[in-house]
């Protein structure tokens, strides 16, 4: 079920009302919210619920098993087997086809081909997100950062519908404490929640989908047919589109959770004002970057084993992070590109600020990030080559229009403004009376709805991951 759909508009008010009605009676509320979340997920495909259930049971068994023993060696083994199971599910459903075709082709060339059967496997929506959350649960218990919850709480943590299909990746140690006591019904951030839902809708439908339709999709489909002016604009357009698409989803997820009384971590913080790769990853998909840091980079040894190992660890972390986004070589290359950027920055750390002024560091970083997005958006590496060729091909500008250029300028420009006044405006709005905000949200939905084409709202980009 997508957030901006009629089905969800019917589902959510009912769930919200029942949720708060049952909140003080936790033995009733907890099963209710699990059922509601599974109904939400079953709307995509009921069979996927079995997968979510299997990951939940596995994680719970592992967490309890780890907690019950003091033997470090055994704890480690239980942890590893639990994580392997969760990631195994991810591997089969997301990467099997990639290994059987693309990777097998590469292995064939060195005589190591694997005769695996060809099969088309449906990718369960959100599996990348909830499998990672399951990993944080097991590993956090192993690290004694959190205690195992009961099965019901673990099921709520993994299936809670606002974050189920595209994050943010909420850590067990952030979410489980919120289940220890009923949420306080007299301290609900109603207007902030409604503001975020409205903002997310505008970002997704009015900006991201508009840019995709009018500019990005045509150019990325056949870059050979376009020349530099259009290709450059479409590259910036995609930077704006993917930000509005993903942060729009996150805004809605955080807003809906606030209305239900829960708080999710921040996932974006004006990423296009970054003045370096490190700064970018501090601001873009923050919950993924900290997952990669805490559950991959540090266990690999981080920067504790010398410079060379640091670079290797950075490259490995980011390349795997790229692969997490999708089973295709362009994502692997995009991850490696990010790893190279981080490593290069690490090598000249400290000298950058002395040599280059801030505006130049921002300019270079932003444009490198945009080049990275071209790689990310290209469905294969040959298309990336075609796109890079289009960037230097002379020819007419055919896709420029005031709304398109204005939308891109708005999305990127707003992130460059000082943070404090912008947040201030947003939060001042969110202090308004809830009924007024409810009416305003209806107005936003009506206006946004009028911009939806007859074919409906396209899925969020990160649903594919």
């Amino acid at each position: 079920m997508l957030f901006p759909t009629v089905e969800f508009a019917i589902f959510f008010p009912v769930v919200l009302a029942i949720s708060w009605a049952l909140m003080s009676r936790q033995p009733l509320w907890k099963p209710f919210i699990v059922v509601a979340s599974y109904v939400f997920y079953a709307a995509v495909d009921p069979r996927f619920c079995l997968l979510l259930g299997a990951i939940t049971v596995d994680s719970q068994l592992a967490a309890v098993g780890i907690h019950r023993t003091e033997d470090e060696r055994l704890r480690k083994w239980i942890c590893a087997s639990g994580v392997v199971f969760d990631l195994g599910i991810l591997a089969v459903f997301k990467y099997y086809g990639f290994f059987v075709t693309d990777v097998s082709d590469v292995l064939d060339t060195v005589g190591l081909g694997m005769p695996l059967p060809l099969a088309t496997i449906a990718l369960p929506v959100g599996v990348s997100f909830f499998s990672f959350q399951a990993v944080t649960y097991i590993v956090d218990v192993k690290r004694r950062q959190t205690e195992p919850a009961n099965l019901l709480d673990a099921a709520i943590y993994l299936s809670f519908f606002p974050h189920l299909v595209a994050g943010p990746i909420v850590r067990a140690s952030e979410f489980l404490p919120q289940l220890r006591a009923p949420r306080n019904p007299s301290r609900v951030a109603v207007s902030a929640g409604l503001t975020l839902v409205a903002l997310g809708l505008i970002k997704k439908v009015m900006i991201a989908d508009y840019l995709a339709r009018e500019l990005v999709d045509p150019v990325f489909a056949v870059p050979q047919a376009y020349s530099a002016p259009d290709a450059i604009l479409a590259a910036y357009g995609y930077a704006a589109q993917i930000f509005c698409d993903f942060s729009g989803y996150t805004d809605m997820a955080i807003g809906l959770a606030l209305l239900l009384g829960f708080v999710f971590p921040q996932n974006f913080n004006s990423p296009y004002r970054a003045t370096g790769f490190r700064d970018f990853w501090r601001r873009w998909h923050m919950t993924l970057s900290r997952f990669l840091r805490d559950y991959l980079y540090i266990p690999l040894g981080g920067n504790r084993k010398g410079k060379v190992r640091t670079y290797i660890n950075l490259m490995a972390t980011m390349t795997l992070g790229g692969l997490w986004h999708g089973a295709a070589w362009n994502f692997v290359a995009w991850g490696a590109f990010q790893g190279t950027g981080l490593s290069a920055e690490h090598a000249i750390r400290g000298r950058l600020g002395r040599i280059f002024p801030g505006w130049l560091r921002w300019f270079v970083t932003f444009n490198l990030i945009v080049v990275g997005w071209i790689l990310f958006r290209s469905t294969d590496l040959s298309l990336f080559g075609d796109y890079m060729a289009a960037l230097v091909r002379s020819g007419p500008a055919t896709l420029y229009s005031v709304p398109v250029v204005g939308a891109i300028a708005l999305v990127i420009g707003l992130q460059l403004l000082p943070e404090r006044p912008m947040e201030g405006i947003e939060l001042r709005i969110s202090r308004l009376q809830p009924l007024l905000m409810g009416a305003a949200l209806a107005l936003v939905v009506l206006v946004v709805g009028a911009t939806v084409p007859s074919q409906g709202v396209p899925p969020f980009i990160y649903f594919r991951f």
Binding site: T5, V6, E7, I10, P13, A17, W20, M23, T101, L118, A119, T120, I121, A122, S173, P177, Q178, A181, R183, N184, S186, V188, A189, V190, S191, A192, L194, Y210, R213, A221, V222, A225, V263, P265, Q266, R282, S289, R293, G302, N303, R304, L314, R349, E423, L427, S430, R431, P434, L435, G438, A439, A442, V445, L446, V447, T451, P453, S454, Q455, G456
Partner: protein, 374 residues
């Protein structure tokens, strides 16, 4: 190792939500530890996780009650039902059969009625229609009585016997037509051909269901607006809906009567393109689908395509995908390409994936090559 108290560390001013160190700083291991300490220190407190709210609270966020939340959301819903109840009813018609559709229908029926009875929906449409990205359709639609099964093919100019120049090609259809449209456009671009390929897929639409778009009208509009020399059509993923017979009764899929009405609709579309100036129409058949329950539908659709094309002679070419993708009429995920078994279908067992669409685009180009120079 000396550690500062978490609360004193400026890097932790936003509590656990702010990720102050990312991948490279030397000291982030210690920050991770401090975050853990910070969380552990609050565990006993009621709602100790409220540190996550700090980013909202910095600006003196106002809190309300749960009852306010419910009232606000209910108000939003009511306003939407009053101003756009018809859209809920329409959404129900477009959903696949199932519980979800039944629920939306149960809400959409009364909501649509309320919306119809009040003047607000009309006002809303008047005020916001200019925002719609959909093109205004012209021409006669299927439902307007433009189709009768007995109708003969319209008289259209015969196609030129000599190859003509191909300047504009339209690739259209439902979700089946993408990424065929992209692959076709890329193949022309890779050959350096100066062919302008217009890609116009209309996802989730069907010839037997005009709820989202009426292909009778759409084909006229495409012919007029895009002025293509040739049209490639790949459609049929959403068919099987009951169709009105000439006497007004609904005919269920997929008997001879249904096929006859469907064939006349396809014929109307072909005529719309040809009368609009298109020299050739290339219509792709539907390869067998994985779900056996869909076979009667695709068989009827394919028969209708062949029947309607036969009535229009050389103006319409059928590009038959079945021998390539499902020889012997049996479904398969993979076919040999360049001597290697390659998956050509999406996991739904209906659509062609990128590789499959590339093969289909090759077949389209072979057909186009016979009729056009480019």
């Amino acid at each position: 190792m000396a550690k500062s108290r978490p609360r004193d560390d400026p890097r932790l001013r936003d509590g656990a939500t702010r990720i102050e160190s990312v991948l490279v700083p030397e000291d982030f291991e210690s920050i991770a530890e401090m975050e853990a300490e910070a969380r552990a220190g609050r565990e006993g407190e009621p709602h100790g996780d409220d540190s996550l709210m700090e980013r909202f609270d910095r600006w003196d966020l106002r809190r309300f009650t749960a009852s306010d939340a419910v009232k606000a959301v209910v108000l939003t819903t009511l306003l939407l039902l009053i101003f756009a109840g018809g859209a809920v009813r329409k959404a129900a018609d477009e959903l696949d059969p199932g519980i979800g559709r039944d629920v939306v229908k149960a809400v959409g029926g009364p909501a649509g009625w309320i919306s119809d009875e009040l003047p607000f929906a009309e006002t809303r449409r008047d005020l916001t229609s200019w925002l719609s990205p959909d093109e205004q359709l012209s021409g006669t639609g299927f439902e307007a009585g433009g189709v009768s099964p007995g109708r003969a093919a319209a008289v259209t100019p015969p196609p030129p016997s000599m190859p003509q120049a191909l300047n504009r090609l339209l690739v259209t259809g439902d979700s089946l037509s993408t990424p065929l449209d992209i692959e076709t456009a890329r193949k022309f671009a890779d050959q350096g051909a100066a062919v302008e390929v217009t890609r116009d897929p209309h996802l989730a639409t069907g010839i037997s269901n005009s709820g989202l778009v009426d292909w009778g009208q759409l084909s006229s509009t495409q012919a007029a607006n895009d002025d293509p020399d040739a049209v490639v059509l790949f459609i049929g993923a959403n068919e099987g809906y009951p169709l009105p017979s000439p006497n007004g009764a609904q005919v269920s899929c997929c008997g001879p009567q249904w096929e006859a009405v469907f064939r006349s609709r396809i014929g109307q579309m072909m005529d719309n393109y040809l009368r609009g100036g298109t020299q050739r129409v290339y219509w792709l058949t539907i390869p067998t689908q994985r779900d056996p329950a869909r076979k009667p539908i695709s068989d009827a659709v394919n028969q209708a395509i062949e029947g309607a094309a036969a009535q229009r002679g050389a103006s319409v070419r059928v590009v038959d995908l079945r021998p390539t993708f499902t020889p012997g009429d049996s479904y398969r995920d993979a076919i040999p390409i360049d001597g290697k078994q390659t998956i050509v279908r999406e996991s739904d067992g209906i659509h062609l994936n990128e590789e499959g669409s590339s093969v289909a685009a090759d077949l389209v180009l072979q057909a186009v090559d016979r009729d056009f120079d480019y």
